[in-house]
């Protein structure tokens, strides 16, 4: 499969602290790559650096061959990176309709699929029901759906999902997982950060495990799932 997103020798700092050191990751087009690791491993920092919210101090980030490092977040979004941030970060004073309307951007690249307001409402029927509701007054699950929909209508070539299941009820997690699976089936390239290990292993085509900002393991999800010693060593799962 061709490469959608490539990180080469990526170093990201929080002030003087090196949060990500020498990361080399390749995300294949149309596949889900799961970024796993304990708290503080550098997963969210990596996503922020790709989206331009944290400056990469060293290394390269390529989106279908176009260098992203040093660009502003708005430019990176226009090139085709959609970020669903941790904690949703929706705009509380805007309605669902306003969220989708301001975020919508027709695709600039030759895309097989086009996400517009109607298509994301089909993917998340609850958003259609809540069109005129202020996002701040919606439940956590609905806000998560809105955050994903908001990123989708920018028509990204790569979708970055940061903890989409965080703090959600099991039934809502299943709904969100179903939507991500549908996006994967539609051929969207996804880089997923998720603490819910069964969910990540179910959705991912490739897993990359980080520890203290470095890649410590990579491979197919089934290998990780079948090796309790590996899971215990890198993810603290017994």
């Amino acid at each position: 499969m061709p490469e959608a997103l490539t990180l080469s020798n990526l170093h990201v700092y929080h002030g003087e602290i090196c949060a990500v050191r020498g990361l080399d990751i390749t995300c294949a087009e149309g596949a889900v790559t799961a970024l796993l690791g304990r708290n503080g491993a550098g997963k969210s920092t990596t996503l922020s650096a790709i989206a331009g919210l944290n400056d990469a101090r060293q290394g390269r980030i390529d989106l279908f061959g176009t260098a992203l490092e040093g660009r502003k977040p708005e430019a990176i979004c226009r090139l085709g990176v959609g970020l669903v941030p941790q904690g949703r970060r929706i705009f509380p004073s805007l309605t669902v309709q306003e969220h989708l309307a301001i975020a919508y951007r027709p695709p600039r690249h030759k895309a097989e699929r086009v996400f517009d307001i109607a298509s994301v409402e089909t993917l998340f029927p609850r958003l259609k029901e809540r069109r005129r509701q202020l996002a701040g007054s919606m439940s956590g699950g609905e806000q998560q759906m809105l955050a994903i929909a908001r990123a989708l209508v920018t028509n990204p070539r790569v979708l970055l999902l940061d903890e989409p299941a965080e703090g959600l009820a099991p039934q809502i997690v299943a709904e969100v997982a179903e939507s991500i699976a549908a996006l994967k089936a539609a051929g969207l390239s996804i880089l997923l950060v998720e603490h819910n290990l069964p969910l990540a292993l179910r959705l991912a085509d490739t897993c990359v495990v980080l520890s203290s900002g470095e890649v410590v393991w990579r491979g197919p999800p089934q290998v990780l799932a079948d090796d309790p010693a590996l899971m215990a060593q890198h993810l603290g799962v017994h």
Binding site: A51, G52, K72, E74, R78, P85, S93, L94, A101, R150
Partner: protein, 328 residues
């Protein structure tokens, strides 16, 4: 006429009819002051209520325009309308330069930098005596018009102020509903995320800044024509704080809030001071009550109160229809 427009139309019509019912020009002039203050407060509301940028130096926009129009039409001897156009243009240019400095910051930094910029202009007005008249200010600012439009008459000047206020309400109402207005609220809620959905946050804030400056300048122009005098006092920190109080008291982020806040402050200042020597205390006490009872301001506070009263209203009990007795 939509239900949203009706209250504004009624308020403006009531203000326009003050000269018909008042025998004294005092109340007509007072209404003009409310209208001018409301235009300024509407301008500041763009920054405070919609962009989330709290400014303590808003008086710089009306101050610059007032000084420019006063100087051009008195010392410069230019026609008042031409002087007004130059003053508005000049204010917008200086505001754009100030934006380059002020919009580098947010939060407390923005409060401090806007106050500092205003203090620089205030200092220039206070110390550059040969041009600005120093503490004595510039007097004898002529109003435009003539026999065809006697703006010297209080009622005509009031109607001019109300036309400008109506334009401000229409323009800002449309702007807040536009995609750019919605995006501006997005930058207030989550500035970093607006960048991540493809928006240049600085540019959106720049538009908001210039819009605030434009309506502040309009208020400054009317202020100079109304008082026919300008002094550094109109750019003092207290002047900026007063406009901020109008916005906060009325309800930041609402269209009606600045109008109500302006009316409250101007009326308290002018009416309460007639009967009460320590009227500033009354003003302070009023704001303490507003902040305690309606922390979001009068307009959102009343909206919540109305919603609460609606919930209290007992729902009518279902009518009981007696069943026909089987034996009956």
């Amino acid at each position: 006429m939509s239900a949203r427009v009706l209250p504004f139309a009624v308020a403006l019509a009531a203000m326009a009819m003050v000269p018909l019912f008042s025998t004294s020009p005092f109340y007509v002039n007072l209404t003009s002051q409310v209208a001018i203050a409301a235009i300024g407060a509407l301008g500041l509301n763009v920054l405070v209520g919609h962009a989330g940028l709290n400014s303590l130096g808003f008086a710089v926009f009306p101050g610059l325009t007032a000084y420019l129009v006063a100087w051009l039409s008195t010392v410069g001897g230019i026609d008042p309308v031409a002087a007004a156009l130059f003053a508005l243009g000049g204010t917008m240019m200086v505001s754009a330069l100030f934006a380059l400095v002020a919009l580098r910051t947010t939060g407390l930094g923005f409060v401090m930098i806007t106050m500092a910029l205003c203090q620089i202009v205030w200092g220039a007005a206070y110390r550059w005596t040969s041009v600005t008249g120093g503490d004595n200010g510039l007097s004898g600012v002529p109003r435009p018009g003539g026999a065809w439009l006697p703006l010297e008459k209080p009622e005509y000047f009031l109607w001019l102020c109300l036309i400008v206020l109506a334009l401000a309400l229409i323009q800002l109402g449309r702007f807040f509903d536009s995609p750019l207005g919605v995006a501006l609220r997005g930058t207030r809620d989550q500035p970093r995320r607006m960048g991540a959905v493809g928006y240049d946050v600085w540019r959106i804030r720049f538009v908001a800044w210039m819009l605030a400056a434009a309506w502040g300048a309009a208020a400054g122009l009317l202020y100079a024509w109304y008082h026919q005098f300008v002094s550094p006092h109109m750019m003092a920190v207290t002047a900026s704080a007063e406009v901020l109080l109008m916005v906060v008291a009325g309800g930041a982020g609402t269209l009606a809030g600045p109008l109500i806040g302006a009316a409250l402050v101007v009326l308290l200042k002018n009416l309460a001071s007639i009967w009460i020597d320590r009227w500033v205390m009354l003003l302070g006490f009023t704001f303490v009550v507003i902040v305690l009872l309606m922390p979001d301001g009068i307009v959102p506070g009343f909206s919540r109160l109305t919603a609460w009263l609606k919930r209290l209203r007992p729902t009518p009990a279902p009518k009981l229809v007696p069943r026909e007795r089987a034996d009956g």
